[in-house]
Symmetry: C2
Subunit: 190 residues, 2 copies
DNA sequence: CCCATTGTAGACAGACCTGTCTACTTGGGC
DNA sequence: GCCCAAGTAGACAGGTCTGTCTACAATGGG
């Protein structure tokens, strides 16, 4: 994120309150469905304050994605470590995410789908996000010449699972298919 | 779709012109970004005519997805046949789609991501769409007890490739990863 | 001590959104 | 010949959106 993590608890700064509400609403309801007035009300901030920090809604959208990126990457690293840190940690980590009651897919995929090329930064940030996630995944795979390609395939399969888990009743089918793909990839000698 | 396919060429009925414009705009720009006024102007129809056919925008969204489903499934069956009809037809068919200059991802994934649970029919239609696509894919796989599970995994990997191809500059990386996954799955004895 | 920074409350402009309504035209079946 | 279904053009209502602006309060560093 943009701020030093200190001084976050007692009275969070206006900017962080705005960002927090924006994250909540943008992720839950979508970008265009969420008006800035709503974010302003939810974060208990004045309109002028809002526009001082984020001169336009687009600036807030970009900040939202950067905030999300930092939070999510932190979660991923933590979850992979908690589940043992090897390639076997991937599936339980993903499952933990999918079973979160607030789960509504990948913020980046959703935003690209909604805004498309309207806001080019969105595409750039998304690409960067997926690249970094792929590298974190690569780090838990057994070392080999093909490690990066393998991680790319696994990351892409996870993207598939992400969207499936978003419209299926339960994430089980997506998780089973993902498990099959990962096992198969790791077992295949190329 | 809803109408007999006859009487489509000379002067397309108002309904089909609306649906055509809606498909164009919804897919290209997104649902909420597209006002009905714009669809009405583009399809050269009167406002009252529009609202006679689609009493609310939500009705049009549902009709759009059904229209898209019929068109896309037709294309898929055709493309798989054109590329030989076996499991080797999957990758070139997907590539053909990704390289379409108007490609902007999966209409269903994008719509679910944008509208979420706001319009429950969207989720139901999407699930149906993916199920039917999976079955068409299963039909080109070698017969085996595991055929359906295999098709589910491949369909999910394709979903991953769909979103990757949506924000990458070129679809090549997504296609390479998809190729790797499909080969690996088909080679693995379970 | 003073003034820049950051904050609050809320009215307002102007655009755009969905959906309704009036008034008129046209063409095919009974 | 007549009438109804389906079409056209476009004004209008009521709501929501982004972004601007006025007026005022607290606070801390030079």
């Amino acid at each position: 994120m943009t701020r030093p993590a200190i001084s976050d608890s007692p009275s969070p700064t206006a900017r962080s309150r705005i960002l927090h509400s924006a994250h909540d609403l943008f992720y839950r309801e979508g970008i265009r469905a969420t008006g800035v007035d709503r974010i302003i009300a939810e974060s208990g901030v004045a309109k002028l304050t809002f526009y001082r920090h984020f001169p336009s809604k687009n600036d807030l959208i970009v900040a939202y994605l950067e905030y999300r990126h930092a939070r999510w990457m932190g979660w991923l690293a933590d979850a992979l470590a908690r589940y043992g840190g090897g390639s076997g940690a991937i599936l339980p980590a993903v499952e933990e995410w999918f079973r979160d009651p607030h789960y509504r897919g990948c913020a980046f995929i959703n935003t690209v789908g909604e805004l498309g090329a309207t806001l080019p930064e969105v595409v750039a940030i998304t690409r960067r996000h997926k690249d970094e996630a792929t590298q974190v995944l690569a780090a838990v795979l057994p070392a080999s010449k093909q490690r990066l390609e393998l991680a790319q395939a696994i990351a892409m399969a996870i993207d598939g699972a992400i969207v499936r888990a978003q419209f299926d009743h339960a994430p089980d089918a997506a998780l089973a298919a993902l498990d099959r793909i990962i096992r198969s990839l790791l077992a295949t000698k190329t």
